[in-house]
């Protein structure tokens, strides 16, 4: 892959992306437009996150990539290969070892540190899109801090399902100013964005937007006074392998017995836990 520049993108492109990132950091939750490049993976497969990763990665960085909690999914592996092939940097599955973490649909269970950067892949950056199709108008609504549309969506869910049915991508208010889609992470991960030690960046390749939540920023999930925000609860359920209860669990079905069981969604976290206990990880 030596015919490519370091980290695949040319310096011009990287600079443009870094500028967008800086602007995003300066205006927490604000969607900064950028000239999303063609990537060797399809748009909608994490090109936004990937471009941020490529623009930020340096020779001493260690990269972790996860897809819905798994380091080994095809998509995560392909992204790692591309970055590694064009930079020669190390990759890891251990959250603690990583300096850059690119992720789809999860924030790891291991708490992030201030020397780490979390990069989330975003399919739809606009929290008002389903009530307002025009980009021109949603921009105006953000400028005027007019978020009735986002509240209306939650209200409608309560009317239909008697609760806010939104599992993933539950909207948040950042720094008391911008309403933001946190990307399709479960509600379980929303509180991790609030006052995070790590910088969190969001990249939407198809929609050509970058936004950011700088460390120690106030991030509140929207909620009506009498319908408080709640994370997913796994009451009475535990990971079948580790017995853990305070993590995000996946519900699975045993194909032979038809029985339902649960596993940690964050597989590297599960593995680390088992290694620490000296148990072999059998699946």
């Amino acid at each position: 892959m030596s015919k490519f520049p370091f980290a695949f993108l040319d310096e011009q492109s990287k600079k443009e992306i870094r500028r967008a990132v800086l602007k995003g950091v300066a205006i927490p939750g604000y969607q900064v437009p950028f000239a999303s490049r063609e990537m060797p993976i399809g748009r909608g497969w994490g090109t936004g996150g990937l471009q941020i990763t490529l623009a930020l990665v340096g020779q001493r960085d260690v990269l972790k990539v996860i897809d819905q909690g798994s380091d080994e999914s095809v998509n995560a592996v392909n992204i790692k290969k591309l970055v590694q092939g064009t930079t020669g940097i190390e990759t890891t599955i251990h959250t603690k070892e990583a300096t850059l973490i690119q992720s789809r649909h999860r924030i790891p269970e291991v708490p992030l540190r201030s020397d780490q950067i979390m990069i989330l892949q975003v399919p739809e950056p606009e929290p008002l899109r389903s009530v307002e199709r025009s980009e021109f108008k949603t921009k105006q609504l953000h400028a005027e801090r007019e978020y009735s549309g986002a509240w209306l969506l939650l209200f409608e869910q309560i009317m239909r399902y008697n609760q806010t049915s939104q599992g993933a991508d539950y909207p948040v208010l950042v720094h008391d100013r911008y309403v933001m889609n946190p990307s399709p992470i479960p509600r379980f991960d929303n509180p991790k964005i609030h006052n995070s030690d790590a910088l969190i960046l969001f990249g939407a390749g198809r929609e050509k937007k970058i936004y950011a939540v700088p460390p120690y920023t106030k991030v509140e999930s929207l909620a009506f006074d009498d319908y408080p925000f709640e994370i997913e609860k796994f009451e009475g359920k535990a990971c079948k392998v580790t017995g853990l209860t305070d993590v995000f669990l996946d519900e699975l079905t045993d194909e032979q017995t038809g029985e339902t069981y649960y596993l940690c969604n964050d597989t590297s976290f599960m593995q680390e836990y088992l290694e620490k206990r000296g148990t072999v990880h059998v699946r």
């Binding site: 009530v131 105006q140 400028a143 005027e144 801090r145 007019e146 009735s148 509240w151 209306l152 209200f155 409608e156 309560i158 009317m159 239909r160 009506f224 006074d225 009498d226 319908y227």
Partner: protein
Amino acid sequence: MFDKPILQIKNLSKQYGEGCSYCQHENAKLERNFCPVCKTVYACKNISLDLHRGEILGIVGESGSGKSTLMKCLYFDEETTTGEGFLTDYFNGNENIFTQSGQQKRFIRNSLLGMVYQNPMLGLKMDFSSISNIAEKQIAAGNRNVKQMVDRSNALLDKVNISIKRSKEPPKNFSGGMQQRVQIAKALSSNPPILLLDEVTTGLDLSVQAAVLDLIKTIQRVMQISMIVVSHDLAVIRMLADRTVVMLNGQIIEEGLTDQILEDPQHAYTQQLVYSLL
């Protein structure tokens, strides 16, 4: 009726197009409201009117006379070109509402005004439940309590004679008359002192029309809301409006008590309008 008007409009104009040296001249001859040279449309020209507390003001005029444009300017759907507007409930009528910031205009629109459009597609989200549609205005006015909004919305549905059992159905399931009722409930939901109604019965069956008009009359009596009712139908104006203004080519050509205008029209155009109805 003799206190300070709740709404005052002064010299409101709305044009579509830039205008040119020809049509900006004082005595320029326009084709109705249209500049033959630069094709600018002068949809509203120097409209001044007062609305008093508890009053229903009728606006009547032929198609294209600028009635809807005026309503849209008042509700900030359209930017006015020039002119002033004052609401007694907004800074005591001392601030021109048309030059406020977007945020302030939203506040006025969500808290002080209610709008019912001729076409319910413009006023409602057809795929959202009716109760959400009604609550939307309360949400926009800053309410964050679900129970309060549900209670208020249900009370309004009851007021406009829609069964609460159907509150969670989307308006697209409803007949035209019911959709207008949902719009009315929505317009009332933040308890605004002023309601704007643009041809709300046009396109409805006669019996349905009568029921909706009845409802409007009742609401006005019970809630003491001030209303501007736009119609090209003099029968509607006759039934609802205390006072009426007649518009033609973007201008007010006559105004007065509704009875007076219907019995003794002064302007040739109004005479024609009234006599053709008889």
